[in-house]
Symmetry: none
DNA sequence: CAAGAACGTTTCAAATCTGATCCTGAAAGT
DNA sequence: ACTTTCAGGATCAGATTTGAAACGTTCTTG
């Protein structure tokens, strides 16, 4: 069966308020389930231990002990369970099912984002001298997308990694006046962690976009935006991350105001001029 | 004060389960608040009328009537569409507005896609020898994303354009047994049209993903999938295209079946092996 | 205007949720 | 062996939630 975080996400909609408090604190740091007692988890979530006990039974475990044992096992084989394996059992996903899942992802994600988190991130990005967009592996397309939006609003957006250049050399020029957009949806790599750590060490602002399952290393990021990515089909969905990025960049543009507007118009004008020429692939 | 959706988002965490059911159904179609009665909204959400009444009072309205009146006013105000220039006047697009817009995009898009269109595209892609993913300019991130999904399912996925290579030379090897995924959301370039034309001339299957505004060049593509991309903020939304791509690739994976599964597991295995080494940026 | 329908509101009892308290058992210390 | 301690489980009473039904109100229709 699934691991603890997965079980929580599965039945999240059905949880009561106190149970949701439990669920949230656990999703923030799933590893704690293995370390802490159910009692202290309850304290952490601000609910009674009775609720905690019930909660674990609600997740389908025989009791809190069993849950903890399972959590430990999940951590041991940290190599993640291939969930898509199970999804191949189902014959087909209907368009309706897909739509429902996506809407849920969006709704849950955006509802749960704290606007003051977003505000502080936007402030940092608006003032930043340079912006670094970081996305390894499967996050690379997301990074590309984010950069495409940001470059319309601010002039100096750099991508990591980029075209075979060595990361540390590129990254050496990061300053405290910079802001970093770190993308860690799905498989998170050591390089991402390294870049984020270096960024913090350089006192740069770090906004981290990730999924609900990711453990939160307290001060790894200045702001963490969690997205729900449960897909109905064979793959997880990045719709929520994409949407959050869009909203973020859009808000950033509005926040910056006139300079961003001027920039957008300038770009539009260049497009118009070039359109008269033969090649227009840009 | 805020509009209905905004109020819901504001207190979402505090809602009880039934109230959340109400909240979810409303957030998925906020316009209905103005049209439908509180009673039918309750029915739609699967809760009692009493709950619906309480819910609106919970949102800060004097009663359901008042809420409905407010919803009507919100829609009237929303009627005139702000151009992206005008959007800079507004203080900020609320999370609720953004969410509403995104959900609308998704719903409209996916509902409207004909499943036999999709099926024929999937069939072509399943049988294709090589697959070409084409995305110029702002569609490049989308192309990257599509390729990332497809490469998990089939072995020979090629991207156009790629890293400074000349397009015609690369594209010369297209065959009738190939399939092309053409991405034309937003600004469409001449190069895209050229590539699509060449593809058709080579008798390859062409699936074209674009937005609603695109002109319908009848036989430019074998299958055309239209996405709604109207954004609430400064930028258009690619959530719908991303979602369609995800659904398409997911269905493709399920359609291919065992070989795709084997491939996915092989990839997962390689990931696991490499994870033990230092650098894991792939 | 009267009758009726649809709707929203209120009431109330049942269902559910939740925390305080108590109980059991295991582990560690004496 | 006895005590202590701590975690989990069970119980129960109080609080909250919830739907059914009764009750007004508004609107339509004849």
């Amino acid at each position: 069966m699934h691991d603890v975080s997965q079980r929580i996400v599965d039945i999240y909609d059905e949880l009561t308020r106190s149970e949701r408090r439990m669920a949230d604190t656990i999703l923030q740091a799933p590893d704690l389930v293995a370390e802490l007692s159910a009692t202290s988890l309850a304290a952490r979530a601000g609910v009674s231990k009775a609720t905690a006990a019930r909660f674990f039974r609600r997740l389908g475990y025989a009791g809190a002990r069993v849950a903890r044992a399972d959590a430990r096992r999940s951590i041991d084989r940290d190599g993640r369970e291939p969930e898509w394996r199970a999804r191949f059992g189902t014959p087909r996903v209907s368009q309706a099912q897909h739509l429902t899942a996506e809407v849920q992802n969006l709704t849950r994600t955006i509802e749960q984002i704290r606007s003051d988190d977003l505000d502080s991130a936007i402030r940092a990005f608006a003032l930043a001298e340079k912006i670094w967009v970081v996305g390894f592996g499967e996050n690379y397309p997301l990074a590309h997308f984010a950069r495409a939006l940001l470059i319309r609003v601010k002039p100096d957006i750099r991508m990591i990694p980029i075209g075979g250049f060595s990361v540390p050399e590129e990254f050496a020029s990061i300053r405290a006046s910079d802001a970093v957009l770190a993308l860690g949806v799905g498989r998170r790599t050591k390089s991402l962690r390294s870049v984020m750590a270096s960024s913090r060490k350089a006192d740069a602002h770090v906004t981290f976009i990730t999924d609900q399952i990711a453990p939160v290393s307290e001060d790894a990021a200045s702001v963490t935006l969690r997205c729900r990515t449960k897909g109905a089909g064979a793959f997880d969905s990045v719709v929520a991350p994409v949407s959050v990025l869009t909203y973020f960049c859009s808000s950033l543009a509005l926040r910056i105001g006139e300079p961003a507007l001027a920039r957008l118009e300038y770009i539009s004008q260049i497009h118009a001029e070039w359109a008269e020429l033969a090649g227009d692939d840009f």
